[in-house]
Subunit: 345 residues, 3 copies
């Protein structure tokens, strides 16, 4: 227990009728907790180092509250007090290191770290997380295991009530865990826990953000941010636009969008974009698209694969409406462009 | 209090723990109420003219009910009676003129006027409304202020319940305020209060309608109607199609769709369309797109910017699948077309 | 009552205040019930053959439970027991033949058969179903008739509660009736009752599945499966992609997707696809699109309408990014292709 600790969280969650964790809600995880806090908690819950998700009983909350108080962790103390008397499952998850997660509560803690903007996308080790996330029915009565679902649906019906199933997924929607400051999320069902929304981000109804992905600052998002995709400050995603993910599609390049970019409505992006780039509405640019490079005089320079322009700034991708050709216009002269294009040959 | 009055509404709403209005529900606003109704209410609530959102107490409902009854406003009387005994915040909003709104209850009244088809989109002054609409967490327990949210989420959890956050937005979904007659709305989360759905309109799951926008009659909408966009009788919007809004994109032209039009699936529209126009599936037409005009004999007439064809009728926009060129086919001869195209030069 | 019986189901549902059926939930329909089961039930409910939706009272459940038990129909017996004491409307729907449905409970039974994978899409007679499905407000308190809605909304408000309207539609969302084994449905609002999801299917947030349509096996669906469209084992639909339905668009060809296909993100499909076909991201292929056929040496073979390639295997549709031309690449030589293309002339 020396050196840096990674994080800890006091969580309240849901288990299946079999006793398996379905999900855990951490109101306010502590990033890099100090050793004195760890030591104070260790005495209460029997923590002996390493990464542990320690199940606790409601009876232990009073002692935890004192332990938090003893090291002036007021936020945590308030949480422990608010939870007193609960009959729901509780967990204290302490992660000494950012190793790959080993349990459902650990995965939920790490996804919460991202959504609370404590770490950025790709900023914590999520290896193997899929196998640790059960597929859950997310209902108006909270998380329900798929095994328990049919009988609970029938029983609710018999009582004249509805067990409303909003989603059947390994990931819950983020907004039931955290709503980051300075954001709007028009349809919360479209932002998964583990998304990162920068302050000033609006996710409109057609927007979508997967886990380990999102925006770093102000953005108007009406398109889809796939898993792993990060969008820089001041970039907008038009309605229905697509960013290629790495989970499917046979693509290993991680797509990203720089600062001050615009993806037009119904456009698509299969390459990483630098700053101040635009993809015209309705145009899908994949890594393999052959594009004619035009210089600042609209002169043809060379045909290249769009993937070769990955990360370059100040590009405008468009389809010539009279020739059907995909063109990329830059603000540089032909000579500059030729040098750049061949710099990596 | 002479002449025309604009409208009034008796509303029940929600306030934050600080006492700020979060939203107001008006079951049935009265458009252009007569002076005798205004006078009857004025005595009860102390209205002295102008535009006022007057907070009332539950105790005043009996007197309001009598006042409504005295002028045979039966619908309003029923509302006042149905609300009796409530502990929720109440407001009587009387707007003498259609000035720009000055309070949250006024904005909600005006948005409700549109969604109840009492006024059409662009039919009421909404200037400055954004500043009057708080960003709200819309939950299964109604509107919750963002400040109050985290503690309420934690408390609900402690009690084994879920405070389910459906949306974090300045606008609520329309269907919790009004479901207009003769409509279907497959996913109500995608139609904001302030949308106008004509009788016979179906909004499918992929459809979307923003405020101050919508359809005037029968329409099958599987695409997105952006803020300010109005769609005429008998026009259909295919799945995932896009209409450019004026809030973003640097475009000041208000997009509209005439009668009997079809926007194909995944198509896009950046110009106002006249009647009986079609945009082919998958084609995005922006104002700056250069399109080859073809006459009724499929002869080439001229290349023009699509924006120059704004409002013209009987156009078919398509991308030639062999040349990649955007073409617009008309039912007119080359001579007629040339005259029309140059009429405004 | 001899020979094959089609199916039966014991359902619990909702009626409007007028006494009309709004919807019926069948936990576990019995396909092709044996005559002994039919006879056992007939005695309890007075069934005399044919297709009948027989309303029953809660008092009859004990006798029904016995009748089920007498023929060892344990699942059904459990349902009858779970429902005992309910005050909700009950129905026993017995369909001797797969005739077109004659009542709301019959339509719900047939849609449930598809969603429970008991029959495949197009596997049961749904003629005239639209007229039998009322348009319903689907709320957090279950199905509400549109006539009853405004007063219930107002009353809920007066009590400080929210009657939350999720959808106004003739079809409910499937997940409140059945969640098929081995599926994920990220946003259940986008999958209608009557959809068929094969084991191993994931419907992501942007996915959509209409009734009488769906997947037969493993699929990642991030696009829209229109009414009637069936997708074969191992095919993926990219984000926002479109499949043309037959309900609108003036198209009578039933679209389908073979096995091992990929529709790219924001692509569109207007022809039936054979196995192992790909449509490039962002490309919309309609039946009328003229496409240049390229052989396995990338040699031009012939221009054909895409509709002429319906059902063929191993095709890659793409738009040439330098000429704007739609091309289809095959893995066959020019000679083979010419023979195939002209085989049906």
């Amino acid at each position: 227990m020396s050196g840096n600790n990674f994080c800890l969280g006091l969580g309240i969650g849901t288990k299946s009728s079999k006793g398996d964790w379905l999900e855990v809600y951490y109101t306010k995880p502590v990033f890099e907790p100090c050793n004195s806090l760890i030591r104070a908690l260790a005495g209460v819950v029997g923590y002996e180092g390493g990464n542990q998700a320690i199940e606790i009983s409601s009876d232990q909350l009073a002692d935890l509250s004192k332990a938090f108080g003893a090291v002036n962790a007021q936020d945590q103390q308030e949480i422990a007090e608010a939870l007193q008397g609960t009959e729901q499952p509780l967990v204290l998850c302490i992660l000494q290191d950012d190793d790959k997660p080993a349990s459902t509560p650990e995965v939920y803690l790490k996804l919460t770290l991202i959504s609370q903007r404590i770490v950025q996308p790709h900023g914590t080790n999520l290896d193997g997380m899929f196998g640790l996330l059960p597929n859950v029915a997310w209902t108006n009565e909270g998380a329900v295991s798929l095994e328990d679902l049919p009988m609970r649906q029938l029983q609710a019906r018999a009582q004249g009530k509805l067990l409303d199933v909003h989603s059947v997924d390994k990931f819950p929607k983020m907004a039931n865990y955290v709503v980051p400051a300075g954001t709007r999320i028009a349809a919360t069902s479209r932002v998964r826990l583990g998304a990162h929304l920068g302050e000033g981000t609006t996710i409109m109804h057609e927007g979508f953000v997967n886990f380990n992905a999102g925006t770093l600052g102000t953005s108007m998002v009406e398109g889809r941010i796939s898993a792993g995709v990060v969008v820089g400050e001041g970039s907008d995603l038009g309605g229905g636009c697509s960013t290629m993910g790495t989970l499917s599609g046979g693509n290993n390049v991680v797509i990203s969008v720089g600062e001050g970019c615009l993806l037009g409505a119904n456009a698509g992006l299969g390459i990483p974009l630098g700053d101040r780039c635009t993809v015209e509405a309705g145009l899908y640019v994949t890594g393999g698209s052959k594009v004619m490079v035009l210089d600042d005089q609209n002169q043809e320079v060379e045909v290249v694969k769009a993937g070769d322009l990955a990360g370059q700034t100040d590009l405008l991708f468009r389809r010539n409406s009279q020739t059907g050709r995909i063109e990329v216009k830059t603000n540089k002269s032909a000579i500059q462009l030729n040098e750049e294009l061949h710099a990596n040959n």
